[in-house]
């Protein structure tokens, strides 16, 4: 047995590079030695019952896969990014920083005083507007009261909603008045808005 082992080891050491499969075969517990008579896989275990257990097993596997799929599908859809809330990388570019000249004391004073003057002006304008609106509403309320005294029918007709009014459209004021019989040139544009789908 010792001699056999030595020869074996010599064979093995000389052939290590090419016979790696032989070495792995040797280390597997199914094969006791290369030189032993070649036998098939030991048949000590039970024969496989392919009729009952397997379909059940396959079903179990399928169910497990389906559950995993459902869990994956339950992930909420990716939110559409709001483009207004994302500051573009352009804004963080350092080459774009503007050189700001330093303001003199007089300039800062002038600005502060102008801002205060403006807030006072706007406040008085707002007060005047609110008073006007209040006056108009009061006039309307009194008119409706008088109408009610006069005739209930007319009052009800006046109170009822006006279906023809909305949708109401009106061109607001621009800087210059519209030119009569003006032909505007064709405006061609490429629409590059990004459309997201969930």
């Amino acid at each position: 047995a010792g001699i056999v082992c030595r020869t074996l080891s010599r064979v093995v050491s000389s052939q290590t590079s090419c016979c790696s499969s032989v070495v792995s075969v040797r280390h597997s517990h199914w094969f006791t030695s290369i030189l032993s008579p070649k036998t098939s896989v030991p048949l000590r275990a039970e024969p496989k019952k392919k009729k009952k257990v397997d379909p059940r097993r396959e079903q179990m596997m399928k169910e497990r896969l389906k559950k995993k799929l459902k869990k994956l599908e339950r992930v909420p859809p990716e939110l559409i990014p709001i483009e207004d809330f994302i500051t573009t990388a352009k804004c963080f570019d350092e080459t774009r920083v503007r050189e700001v000249p330093k303001l003199s004391f007089e300039e800062t004073e002038r600005r502060a005083l102008l801002l205060k003057h403006w807030s006072r002006y706007k406040f008085s304008q707002h007060q005047a507007e609110m008073a006007e609106i209040k006056e108009a509403l009061e006039a309307q309320r009194q008119a409706l009261e008088e109408l009610k005294i006069e005739s209930e029918d007319l009052y009800k007709a006046a109170i009822g909603p006006d279906t023809d009014l909305f949708p109401f459209q009106h061109q607001g004021p621009c800087y210059t008045p519209p030119i009569p019989n003006y032909e505007a040139p064709d405006g061609k544009y490429n629409d590059i808005t990004r459309v997201y789908t969930q």
Partner: protein, 284 residues
């Protein structure tokens, strides 16, 4: 059901026996409403001493933005300055700077065109050239004039384009010709808004949108004593607001109507009338 029923019946009796004027506040309950309105209608047409008129306050809204006050001018200048200071350089400005740097490099003696990146043999359009081209294009567009000056008289609707104008009409009231908002007497069977629409129909070629069914103001006046015999003490005029849609309006009979700003109203209307009308005509 019994309790509310009872308390409703009391005011009904009061209506049938009493005058047309009501001082009782009523709650709207569907059963009694129709009954109540029927009786009230009868009393209105019989007992009320006021004849009803519907009038229209037709406004031509401003076509042009108003000129700025001195404070507004100053403030807008300040805001533009501050925004400029706080902003970053735009693409166009960066391009201008690059072009300026390239030009200065060209002027130097040891200029080597091969060192330039992205130069090639193409002709370069500088940002300054673009700006000049844009200015030329702007000059080709001639906008309409903002102010027409004082050429237009009171009867044209193209007058003060920055303010809202109200239409006034010279009408016979009694024996006198008086400047009024267009008004017409109410006929039975129509709502007051339809009366106002009829008042507008007398003026040709005016498309107006009435702003709602409710009147915006009222004015009552008593007839002079010689007309009072017909059983009506005076008249109540209900005003309805309308906005003119189309600007084109053919002027007819120059002396009979006028487009007037709010501050010019006092030159045309009588003081009492003006006081009521000023309440709902808004100067923006």
């Amino acid at each position: 059901m019994a309790a509310p029923f009872r308390c409703i019946y009391r005011p009904l009796w009061r209506v049938i026996t009493g005058s047309g004027r009501l001082t009782v506040g009523m709650r709207n309950i569907s059963f009694t409403e129709n009954h109540f309105s029927a009786t009230n209608h009868k009393t209105a047409s019989v007992g009320s001493p006021w004849t009803l008129h519907g009038a229209v306050c037709l406004q031509r809204l401003p076509v042009i933005s108003q000129d700025r006050n001195p404070i507004e001018e100053e403030f807008s200048g300040l805001m533009q300055q501050m925004e400029l200071e706080r902003s970053l350089l735009s693409d166009h400005e960066l391009r201008l700077l690059e072009d300026a740097a390239r030009m200065s490099r060209k002027q130097e003696e040891d200029y080597d065109s091969d060192e330039e990146e992205d130069y090639g043999d193409k002709e370069i359009v500088t940002a300054q050239d673009l700006e000049d081209a844009w200015e030329q294009k702007l000059k080709q567009f001639h906008p309409a004039q903002r102010s027409n000056g004082d050429k237009l008289d009171v009867s044209s609707s193209e007058r003060c384009l920055a303010d809202s104008l109200v239409l006034l009409i010279k009408q016979d009231v009694g024996s006198q010709k008086v400047w009024l908002l267009p008004q017409v007497q109410w006929k039975a069977g129509e709502t007051l808004r339809q009366t106002a629409e009829r008042a507008l129909a007398h003026l040709p070629d005016v498309k107006a949108t009435f702003l709602g069914n409710a009147p915006c103001g009222f004015y009552k006046y008593k007839y002079p004593k010689d007309i009072q015999k017909e059983g009506s003490v005076g008249a109540k005029v209900f005003f309805f607001k309308a906005v003119m849609c189309s600007p084109n309006h053919l002027p007819l009979e120059k002396n009979s109507f006028a487009w007037v700003k709010k501050d010019e109203l006092k030159d045309f209307l009588t003081p009492e009338y003006l006081k009521q009308v000023n309440r709902f005509i808004m100067s923006l």
